[in-house]
Symmetry: C2
Subunit: 86 residues, 2 copies
Amino acid sequence: GDAALGRKKASACQTCHGMDGLSKLPEAPNLAGQVEPYLVKALSEYRDGKRQNEIMNVVAKELSDADIANLAAYYAGIQIDVLPPG
Amino acid sequence: GDAALGRKKASACQTCHGMDGLSKLPEAPNLAGQVEPYLVKALSEYRDGKRQNEIMNVVAKELSDADIANLAAYYAGIQIDVLPPG
């Protein structure tokens, strides 16, 4: 997907997921640096109802395949560093 | 949950998710620093079949509530830094 286009689309996601991909709500997962094909799969499953979430089923319904690919590219592209566990 | 106990339990997760919570497979999401209640919800849904995944439905079936709480605490407790998007 196209991360730049995804970034524009992400304005619809930022309330819960942030533009930086860090969750703003306890129910919302972090998306920053997440695995791109996993994001595509999750979004597709929210769109077709295989995955249930009141908000995401509504939000995802509007998304095209291109939107999903672009959003996945945007959030997956956010760099994260993991500090090795203690 | 108890992250130290979760860390022991995570040996069952490391093949796909890593002990560091960074995905080792395209299908497996990163877990490092993920939102703790989100991890509890996801694991519980894999356990009771609300969320479908061949591997996770089998793996999660064995987990007790305490295991789920401890695993969530372990992976959520791994520190991540997000480099602000460009």
